[in-house]
Amino acid sequence: MSVLIIDYGMCNLGSVKRAFEECGASAFISDNPRDAEKASHLVLPGVGAFGDAMKNIISAGWDKAIRKNVLEENVPILGICLGMQLLAEKGFEGGEHLGLGLIQGEVIKIYNENPGSTFRVPHIGWNEIHKQQDHAILEKLQPSTDFYFVHSYFFKTTHKEDILTTTHYGLDFPSIVSKDKITGVQFHPEKSSRAGFQIIRNFLSIN
């Protein structure tokens, strides 16, 4: 097993790599899309703005490499935080930008369905995930486990079937999305202690 952590210049990849290693995987960071062929699993991390991230991904050629390996070779991919949002068709962070389009939907700003309460954005901290359907990525997790979130936008999926868990913050937003072997988590498993490791191990079990 060889996990490729995609480096498109946007974030702290060390923590992600360490977390995968802690879970027994051999993980490597690469900024070369050609390395994608060597990988059994792809990880798309990310911190930062949607538009800049897509610009970097496209200029490095990662978009083509990801599509080829994920859609043609059926290689499992895990998007983390911004990486999850990039799986969408479109993002509206600082203008309208095209995403990778691997899961249908768009990325919009978090808002409160019931305004009037003390409601702060970014959504920072530990919050629960609520299962909407069974999936390998959710194996061995207690119901309503807390994970660490830090984001201002969320992935509004087109299809309900693509939502594995939701989380409540102002509104119920998808916290884990999945379609075929494509999975995205809005929280940071690498920063969510043991529960995060379980998610990573579950992802590694998808072949």
Partner: protein
Amino acid sequence: MLKARIIPTILWKDIGIVKGVGFNSWRRVGSLLPAIKVYNTRQVDELIIVDITATEQDREPDYDVIDEIADECFVPLTVGGGVKGVDHIKKLLRAGADKVSINSSCYSNPEIVSKGADLFGTQCIVVSIDVYKDADGTYECLKNSGKISTGKDPVKWAKEMELRGAGELLITSIINDGAMTGYDIDLIKRISDSVTIPVIASGGASDYEDMYQALTTGHASAVAAASIFHFTEKTPLEAKHYLGKKGILVRKY
């Protein structure tokens, strides 16, 4: 629902003292790493590490140390001290910080907040504000570890920082800090009520009730504490039990 966070703060000055005579970097990390490992094993909600002498000594953040710490830290890590430019932010994020805390340089160069937020997202920019309360009750922001006056009113400054793109505010009462007399609830409340980003209360926690007050009366989203965890038998886990019993939502694990 979102949980209230209990955040141990680790001040790097302790490490500075340890390294005083030596240049053996292993040694100074050596004293920081065990603390990180303990907090990591205990699955704390988050950690804040501040190098409080970096600005004074006109040093850049120590990226190597952060790198080593981050390797052992599977909980969110906020790093501060000596951050003067967006390249510092970038290097800290690369080294493994999840959020970067900026304080003194915001006064001379507020652009660092807007540029940092544009480049890396507001969610990883924490603006730290050290506040001094005069004998007559007026509040003022101080910089360089409380040594230099800025003439800024904390509420106005907090709002300006929010506008510029801060994703979170870390508010420390200088007088209360380390005194273990409780947080400055009035200050925390005033700032929390003037912004829509999360506020972390810091400075003065002496017991769990102080945390409860900061989260309820003070409207803080999180509480940070150092002395209470370093110098007493109190722990973040016990704090959560206390807060949980009183109806505060805390993370269970």
